[in-house]
Symmetry: C2
């Protein structure tokens, strides 16, 4: 017996001696109920410990007051921060917020989209993984819009909020060159991730402009262990060919490199400078604080949620837009050669 004592709207109505419609109005449009009755109703609600049944509300009104968000990896603090920003906005709109983790697995991605559809969420924030754009278009045609996060919408059919990864990559590399790196390298992968590809090409543009060769160390993913591994590889190179400055595609990789270098006795930044990307908290919290390219993480989440609400609220007038933030170079010790 699931529903033990739950008082319902009708019980409240009886106790307060008004109709159910009035109780509903007290809840939803309190200003158009007379003070007298409103107080009676509120008292009754209090006395009975009445709690609205959200399922019934959603059923009747056709959609639930909730947003779904699907990220690539909740264990990456970058995404938790983006989610935090989005949640704030959802909160402000009195929507609940369902955070799901595709964990870079496209089966999970699909099944969470199923879930969101069943829940009739009002909209979806997603960092897409698999080939999911088509499905999102179908879902929108059925009334569930979505906004792409940390990913530029290539067709104009979606709003998106992202960061100019190419510019970020260029800034990172220009910085390395400016502190005197003559044998720079890029560490990252896979190149099927647009972000990685863009960051690399930004870096490449910088080295080409300076007439310097850019070494490439490709990784199968962006995790710490991979960074450590490449660090060991780099350490084994002959000192005169070994990179003297490394730009890693994200901070987790960069931290892996840093640990490997430290353990192997390479001095950072004297022997080799490091620049990461994302500027997660742990970048600045490392014992050798990491130079990084900062993305406005919370802001990305906030803007994305706002765009989504705009589409939800003004289905017709809404115009899709691509918000692209400029990332910011934050210089710390890992690249400071004074």
């Amino acid at each position: 017996m699931p529903n033990n004592l739950g008082a319902k709207l009708k019980d409240v109505a009886v106790l307060a001696q008004v109709s159910v419609g009035t109780v509903s109005n007290v809840l939803n449009k309190p200003e158009q109920v007379s003070t007298d009755k409103r107080n009676r109703v509120l008292a009754a609600i209090d006395q009975l410990g009445f709690v609205r049944n959200e399922s019934a509300r959603s059923l009747r009104s056709g959609s639930s007051r909730s947003l779904g968000m699907l990220v690539l990896d909740v264990r990456n603090p970058f995404f938790t921060d983006v989610a935090l920003g989005a949640e704030d906005v959802a909160d402000a709109h009195k929507h609940s917020f369902i955070l799901a983790n595709s964990a870079e697995n496209s089966v999970r991605e699909q099944s969470y989209l199923d879930l969101f559809e069943q829940q009739r969420v009002q909209g979806i924030l997603i960092t897409p993984l698999g080939d999911v754009i088509e499905r999102l278009e179908v879902m929108r045609s059925r009334g569930i819009p979505s906004v792409l996060v940390d990913r530029l919408a290539s067709t104009g059919h979606f709003c998106s909020v992202s960061v100019d990864d190419t510019a970020g990559g260029r800034a990172a590399m220009e910085h390395l060159l400016s502190v005197g790196s003559t044998r720079p390298a890029f560490v990252g992968g896979p190149f099927t991730l647009q972000q990685v590809d863009d960051r690399y090409h930004g870096a490449l543009a910088a080295t080409e402009a300076a007439g310097v060769r850019l070494q490439l160390f490709e990784t199968p993913n962006l995790k710490f262990e991979r960074g450590r591994h490449i660090g060991d590889v780099i350490n084994d190179l002959r000192p005169d060919t070994r990179p003297d400055g490394v730009f890693a595609a994200n901070d987790q990789l960069a931290l892996g490199l840093l640990q490997s270098f430290t353990e192997n006795g390479l001095r950072v930044p004297e022997d080799i400078a490091i620049v990461g990307f994302d500027d997660i908290d742990f970048a600045s919290q490392s014992s050798i604080p990491l130079t990084s390219i900062r993305q406005p993480r919370q802001l990305i989440g906030e803007r994305a949620a706002e765009l989504l609400f705009d589409e939800i609220d003004n289905e017709l007038e809404h115009e899709h837009q691509q918000v692209v933030f400029m990332p910011e170079l934050v210089v710390r010790r890992s690249s400071q050669r004074s």
Copy 2:
């Protein structure tokens, strides 16, 4: 117009030429429907792109197929990992999982409990913050049970899953003593958090047993910056009174200490050894890897969710239990004086 094209159960029934009851059975008890009709129904579902309406299901059946989880701080990787474990279990039970962040703010805590109640979640996993036990008891009496996470249930009225913080604190301090620390210190706070208090008293027991004095540096919270600050304070002490071994109440504090010491030129572990607590990923990923007390993070989440499901499924026979995991000392460079 929210509900554009949504086909409903009835539409499926018409197309498949069966009754709505049969369609519902195909969805819920497919084995008791004849193959013939089942196939017709499935084909119709496919053709119409029918998606179940979860609100309607929940309304009719009295509770939603979902679990709520309320953590102290989603930005702390410890909690994301616990949540990940719990989510897996929820998934396996085909329940959806709502993760909420009280952010150490008891107003938010209350309002998320409101939300969970409105959503009629089937149960709640919570790391309680404010004075919330009473409310949880009321909620249980109304059919929404909860399990305490990372917190021992002091009354026997709840299940709980936690770690023996006292033992962990003792192990941490015994380790520091064993590597030769003669002026050990504890860094952490506030002591209103049971976890902190227990870890401290564990450490104290170890020093008392060894006849050594334990210095205490109290902090208002467990964040990185506080660790950094205390690190600076410690650095300013006269070398002959300065601690030569520090046990921090969690890893974030420990990382803050580590950064401060490194910057100030104190050598870790030679001048001062550090031990943290939680063993988050970043502990091992630090450039000087951190010795820490490992909690089985995912497992904590899993066990908690399992206990919750047991209470949900066997309301009557269920017996509350307190699961207490033993933490594990993981020795790394930050405390290795060879």
